[in-house]
Symmetry: C2
Subunit: 418 residues, 2 copies
């Protein structure tokens, strides 16, 4: 197989389809989403059979249990995919929205119009449900998509791709509106991330290693989500009950998620009051605690943190604890070690809260709330394609709007430049 | 000189300063702009003397007249720079603006806050006035800047950098808020565009070659302006007077600008009526006309266009003319050959206008107006750092808002995730 030629044809198909999608009405796009849901339902046995092949190959190739679990499909997961398609069809369509409408001194009327980005390439691990997730958000936002899932999920993805193709045809949209790459050859990824004439943006989803590799080699802009090293800072003026509840929720509500807190910072004046309360709860939940010298003084039972702990995204029942002089030291620590995902201050002092929000350079900054709120559903985006830790284009949870851009539209009546 | 070590120290200085700038009030930033204007005025002789050195070196090195003209400073140009600083100080400050404020079912209050990008690297040719232009827009939008002008302007830029440094100090801002690279070694550019830990975005200003080179090598996101191959399409239902006025203005108002029309498309049904009128005016202005076979039939005096003419950004008194079947062919031609900068349709048909706007994938799309309106001043941005032909982040003229991003801010009262 000539990978370069294959990817060129995928690119041309995507670019062509992107034009049909850009002018497709919300009704047509929603019909397509529901037709795909229907095809998934009708063809669920074919999808499950394909998934069995992937699972067997995975077991034979020694995939670990966590990876096999992500790979596995069953009726419940297929129902979840169908439900997801219906949910996305119900979200408001961002495309075509006009904002900032005004008349300029020259007499031209000017506005910004929200438009699809064009063609979005998505590279993800062996999780077949992401194929439907990603395709549905891109379709709803009027973008053509090229999907490249992990090679362990190739059979499942091809079966799902077939359902998508049938659904697109049912709705009268071009089949190349959503293309799932049919080869596991890694050279296809190399082509996808460098063919800027056909692809407008790449969204990698997966581990940090994958995302760093893709970002390094891409010649197409990348919307990326690196790690979530999130902080909670308990200020001098914190309410103790809120501080305990937030520190516990942000760390222990779920461990393996990017918006979990990894480091807890506490103002010196509060440390002796609040830390023992929090640490008791962590201990009961068997959280491994690693503290600075001052924390270890207050809490003799915890172990000593090393420098690398401040940068770590544990994604596990581990927490780093540091006592700081006050808000300045907290902001300094966060801006030094944070991955700019999400940080929260617990304080009853309005001015301190405002300072924290202005000076902490992260995609979500919170006052008196758990970092766990940083996600597309909690923010009301309906769904998210990822959480951007980049600063340009989209920061934080990226929903339909993050998959669009704005162009300028000018309505004249024959105006010429003087 | 150890370029890597030097650029690291520049990067660290910029990152540090970006934090001070992010929390600086509008008043402090405006004071700094006016203090820089004052220092430029007070030190104008030093700047002019330094410029003389550059001019002499330029002449000795055989710089052509056009380049020498861009390099030259005189009292008028310095007054222009001072005036520009005052104008930027009067623009509204985008930083801190809260939008999309709402309360979520969890009880958290959510908003988006406009914030600076952080550190912006600007690479430009030997035009010393760009040093002030770029520095002032970045400063006003709360960003630290690292500036790298063309090597022929090194003495002028260092003298201007000194004025900036003095002005920043007068206003109590860190001197590293605006840094002008003091070496002409090209390795400095290589460092600047790859040090993602210190630089958030690169804005290259200059010729297509420079921008393509930088985009290819950058590891930092680039906001780029490639060419402006702009089109006017005269539809079947065009008003003839408007069509002639717009086609003439878009091509001949100024030739060397990116928003000048390069190709004129005319619907078959209008060609015999409107083309002779336009061509007479082009001929009087000595515009070189290159037409498709059908255009040459109607206009025997013009020469035959080759395929490459449709892709060309002439930046000169040259125009390509094509007769097309109608709006579908026009949109197809534009989406194939355009550089996605600016396109305009001339039509009295509302629906056709709407279709053109929806389906033409360019940063500015116009109805019945000259493409020459596509710029930051005409759009009311006050000033522009460039015109983006990218699709993510900012499209079209990029003003202060394009140099910012939005972060999410959450105001809670102790909320935790259930």
């Amino acid at each position: 197989m000539d990978i370069k030629a294959y990817m060129q044809s995928v690119g041309i198909g995507a670019r062509d389809a992107s034009r049909a999608l850009a002018r497709a009405s919300s009704a047509v796009k929603n019909n397509a989403l529901m037709a795909i849901a229907n095809q998934l339902d009708v063809n669920r046995n074919a999808v499950l059979t394909a998934n069995q092949v992937d699972m067997e190959n995975g077991r034979n190739n020694g995939l670990n249990e966590a990876l096999l679990d992500r790979l596995a499909l069953d009726d419940g997961r297929i129902n979840g995919m169908i439900e997801g398609l219906h949910q996305v069809s119900e979200l408001p369509d961002p495309v075509g929205e006009l904002t900032d409408l005004g008349t300029r001194p020259s007499g031209i009327k000017l506005a910004k119009m929200r438009v699809p980005l064009g063609v979005i390439g998505i590279i993800y691990e062996s999780r077949p449900n992401v194929t439907i997730d990603a395709a549905s958000l891109c379709l709803k936002s009027g973008n053509a998509t090229v999907l490249r899932g992990g090679s362990e999920s190739i059979e499942s993805n091809q079966a799902i791709a077939n359902c998508i193709k049938l659904g697109l045809a049912d709705a009268g949209l071009p089949e190349s509106a959503v293309q799932v790459i049919s080869t596991t050859d890694r050279a296809a990824v190399g082509e996808l991330i460098t063919m800027a004439e056909y692809v407008d943006v790449i969204v990698p989803r997966g581990g940090k290693g994958l995302i760093e590799r893709i970002s390094a080699d891409a010649r197409v802009p990348v919307i990326k989500h690196l790690d979530g090293n999130c902080h909670v800072y308990i200020d001098d003026n914190a309410d103790i009950d809120k501080a305990v509840a937030i520190a516990v929720n942000a760390k222990t509500h779920r461990y393996g998620v990017c918006n979990a807190m990894e480091s807890l910072l506490v103002a010196e004046s509060m440390a002796e009051k609040v830390l023992p309360l929090i640490v008791d709860i962590y201990a009961a939940k068997q959280v491994d605690m690693r503290g600075c010298a001052r924390s270890c003084e207050i809490l003799p039972s915890i172990s000593v943190a090393s420098e690398s702990d401040w940068s770590e995204e544990y994604l596990a029942p581990i927490v780093a604890i540091k006592v700081v002089a006050g808000i300045d030291a907290a902001i300094e620590h966060i801006n030094t070690y944070s991955s700019q995902h999400t940080e929260s201050i617990v304080t009853e002092d309005h001015e301190r809260g405002q300072r924290f929000i202005a000076e902490v350079d992260s995609s979500s900054v919170m006052i008196n709330a758990s970092t766990r709120f940083a996600d597309g559903f909690e923010y009301g985006l309906g769904a998210e394609i990822g959480i951007s830790t980049d600063k340009i284009h989209a920061r934080g949870p990226v929903g339909l709007e993050g998959l669009t851009s704005q162009k300028w539209v000018v309505f004249g009546d024959g105006q010429i430049r003087q």
